[in-house]
């Protein structure tokens, strides 16, 4: 079964509720978990299941994504034959003529010639903005065994904003009987936006949608085909984090301080890979304090951190006190500054003695490269 599955990641979405965090990037390349970009999780899921060919569909704001995935070598996807292919919107004009992707079917239509050349019989479609460690090899096997036309991965643990999710109702055999798209209240099984189907079915769905001017996968495929297609729901109840808003990002980050969550997300048998930067180890100074915190490599901690997520190369100087914060790569908190409930984007500098305070329900987010 190895090499029978082809991976497609939708990596073009933007989300205005992420404010500062998605100013310079799309939702896939948002830093998450101390050293990762969200897309690392789905890429690693693919690679860990033996997927050798992956198409990454990008649209706008993808410079940071390109910089991150590069040739794909850190995921062993830099291959002569197959491997990682980044699919920018080259010369695509949809029927509305504005060149934007209004939905996943639009995006797939935009890369139609790529889809035709897929050399595997099956395709897994996934969003690049969910942090989850999936046993994808098992899921694929279950798809083959179930005889379903399509397998949808979903969870019974609901902790996302339902207005941005799809929900499934299933029968006793696990087949989907109804789909609710972006409801106001969550009910049933929440889709993790990972779908497995045959290449043949995928191409016919893309043909159908493009000739009927349907851009949305949820509406055009799930809702309208729920009675024509056998869609099997694969329930995965491990940890999954969807980054939908700044407060949500903060909450999902803080959940990582729970060892049980980390054990699921960083299961050693399915390692999450990311861009290698050859950072040195993290140095703790003589008066440093680091309590209940996740700290990536290359940090220098001379002050105090508590309940924090620190990305690579963060510097917390003497006398600085940082609690309940997410500090992204290269953030410098200078001496005696105090930060509570703050998210700093890359390379933010907080000058000596500054005090910044947000709240867990409304964390203060500071945009990339800003100086406070």
């Amino acid at each position: 079964m190895l090499n029978k599955l082809h991976g497609i990641i939708f990596a073009y979405r933007s989300n205005p509720s992420l404010r500062e965090l998605s100013q310079h990037r799309n939702t896939c390349s948002i830093p998450y978990g101390g050293r990762y970009r969200v897309v690392d999780f789905m890429l690693s899921n693919f690679v860990n299941a033996g997927v050798s060919d992956v198409g990454l569909i990008a649209h706008a704001n993808y410079q940071s994504l390109l910089d991150h995935v590069s040739s794909g070598k850190d995921w062993d996807l830099a291959r002569k034959h197959g491997g990682l292919r980044i699919l920018p919107p080259f010369g695509y004009a949809n029927k509305r003529g504005d060149g934007n992707y209004h939905g996943r079917m639009d995006a797939l239509a935009g890369v139609y010639s790529y889809l035709q050349k897929i050399r595997q019989d099956y395709v897994v479609l996934a969003g690049g903005d969910v942090a989850v460690n999936l046993p994808l090899a098992e899921i694929f096997q279950s798809h083959l065994d179930s005889g379903a036309d399509m397998t949808a991965v979903c969870t019974s643990k609901l902790n996302s904003d339902p207005r941005g999710c799809d929900y499934f109702t299933t029968d006793e055999n696990g087949f989907v009987t109804d789909v609710a798209v972006n409801p106001t209240t969550a009910a049933g099984l929440e889709s993790l936006e990972v779908y497995i189907l045959s290449k043949e079915l995928l191409l016919s769905l893309v043909d159908h949608c493009s000739t009927h001017n349907i851009s949305s996968f949820s509406d055009g495929v799930l809702v309208s085909a729920v009675h024509n297609l056998k869609i099997h729901a694969y329930q995965f109840d491990g940890y999954a984090a969807r980054l939908q808003s700044v407060a949500g990002y903060f909450a999902r980050s803080m959940e990582l301080l729970d060892p049980a969550v980390r054990a699921q997300l960083f299961a050693p048998e399915r390692p999450i890979k990311t861009k290698d930067q050859s950072n040195p180890s993290t140095y703790y100074g003589p008066g440093a304090k680091s309590i209940n915190s996740l700290v990536a490599d290359g940090c220098i901690i001379e002050g105090e951190v508590e309940n924090c997520i620190l990305f690579r190369g963060v510097h917390v100087q003497k006398g600085a006190r940082v609690s309940n914060c997410v500090l992204m790569q290269g953030t410098v908190v200078q001496s005696d500054a105090v930060l509570k409930y703050v998210i700093t984007d890359k390379n933010v500098r907080v000058n000596p003695g500054r005090m910044l305070m947000g709240h867990s329900s409304y964390p203060l987010a500071i945009a990339k490269n800003e100086i406070v």
Partner: protein, 398 residues
């Protein structure tokens, strides 16, 4: 040409499975990362690594050289083990010079004007391009990088006696009464045509031990070749003994004394697995230490270097120690003034090593526990011990 075949017998508990250059160092690295990173940072993109002793892990580590940007279609990193030739028996590398002699064919493939000879057991940052510029400007046949040491230290090194222009007129190996304080760092640049000549002559001499320091350099001096000393100022440490390896790791904690790993101008590259960020627990105390991804620290860590995936459980204390990847220090255990090799487990309440304050005599030294061992619950490993077998504890009691 990087000589990486050394056994490192003085580090034996740490080198029973790997060659010395592959011994982990400084939290994130292996010793060989320093010369390799120096090469790529100096603009050298063709490197031969000569391996002999226990090369498997080293070979796997080097791979295609990607971690050092040495994966190239022209040049790149090449692993050079001894090999068989037709018409004669293959031999091991008899000495450092013989190792290069046996690989003259490799060097000729690239038809270089100059060859840089390095060894894989030193920790330092050095721009070889400056040394090469010095070599070219002086028109020497050979340039040897030297470090100024104290006269007492000089008795432990190969010492270069030089004239006013730093031209070498005499080489003395570990002199009792040193005339100079310029110690050889084991870094040589040769004009290739000259080196070739001397390597062939050396090989023809049956009495020679085929060593650069003992044979090639003295022979060149005897033939009035121009040998120049190149003075290096900066941190350099030979990590051939347990004490110096421990010292050099401790130096990493004080970049002002040693090597600054955070300096992005001269990065040291390494090949490491991707691990999640380290986690410090609710009662963790970490001070003046380096800790790496995948570590979980619930106890106390002071003045120590922790490689990736080390676990320090609640109530455990680690001080002045080096914990290599995957070691586990169970609850209540104490590890002080010790080096613990990969994946070794120190049981609950065990005590490894002692502080020199508690035992200030000649019996004191760094305790070393080799890889993949278990030190049982409550067991005691004294200072200076070199442990290569499991140590039983009182596990039955619990």
């Amino acid at each position: 040409m990087l000589l990486a075949g050394g056994q490192g017998s003085r580090l034996h508990a740490l080198t029973s499975h790997v060659a010395k250059p592959a011994v982990p160092f400084g939290g994130k690295y292996r010793i060989i990362d320093f010369p390799l990173s120096n090469c790529i940072n100096s603009g050298i993109d063709t490197v031969g690594v000569l391996t002999q002793y226990r090369p498997l892990e080293l070979n796997a580590y080097l791979g295609n050289g990607q971690a050092w940007d040495l994966d190239r279609s022209d040049g790149g990193v090449h692993i050079l083990p001894p090999y068989m030739r037709e018409g004669e028996k293959g031999t091991w590398y008899k000495g450092t010079a013989n190792a290069i002699y046996q690989n003259m064919g490799f060097i000729e493939l690239y038809d270089p004007e100059y060859v840089l000879i390095l060894s894989g057991d030193h920790i330092y940052k050095m721009d070889y391009s400056k040394m090469l510029a010095h070599h070219k400007a002086s028109g020497a046949a050979c340039t040897i990088s030297v470090l100024e040491v104290t006269l007492e230290e000089a008795t432990r090194f190969g010492i270069m006696n030089v004239d006013d222009s730093d031209q070498i007129y005499e080489f003395e190996e570990k002199p009792k009464h040193p005339k100079s304080n310029l110690a050889s760092m084991g870094i040589y640049i040769f004009t290739w045509s000259k080196l070739k000549e001397y390597l062939m002559a050396d090989e023809a001499d049956e009495k020679s031990s085929n060593d650069f320091g003992k044979n090639i350099i003295p022979s060149m001096l005897a033939h009035q070749e121009k040998l120049m000393a190149y003075r290096f100022r900066g941190y350099w440490k030979d990590v051939g003994t347990i004490d110096s390896l421990w010292d050099a790791n401790m130096d990493m904690l004080s970049p002002e004394n040693g090597i600054d790993p955070y300096d992005t101008e001269w990065p040291i590259y390494a090949r490491t697995p991707t691990k999640p960020p380290l986690y410090t627990g609710p009662n963790a105390k970490v001070s003046h230490s380096m800790v790496t991804g995948g570590c979980e620290v619930y106890g106390t860590v002071e003045n120590s270097v922790l490689f990736h995936s080390v676990q320090v459980e609640e109530g455990a204390r680690v001080a002045y120690s080096i914990l290599m990847p995957g070691t586990v220090v169970k609850a209540g255990a104490v590890v002080e003034y010790a080096i613990i090799a990969e994946n070794t487990v120190i049981g609950e309440q065990a005590h490894v090593g002692t502080s020199p304050d508690d035992q200030n005599d000649s019996e004191w030294g760094i305790a070393v526990v080799a890889q993949n061992l278990k030190v049982g619950r409550g067991a005691v490993v004294p200072a200076k011990a070199m442990i290569t077998r499991n140590v039983k504890g009182d596990d039955k009691k619990c």
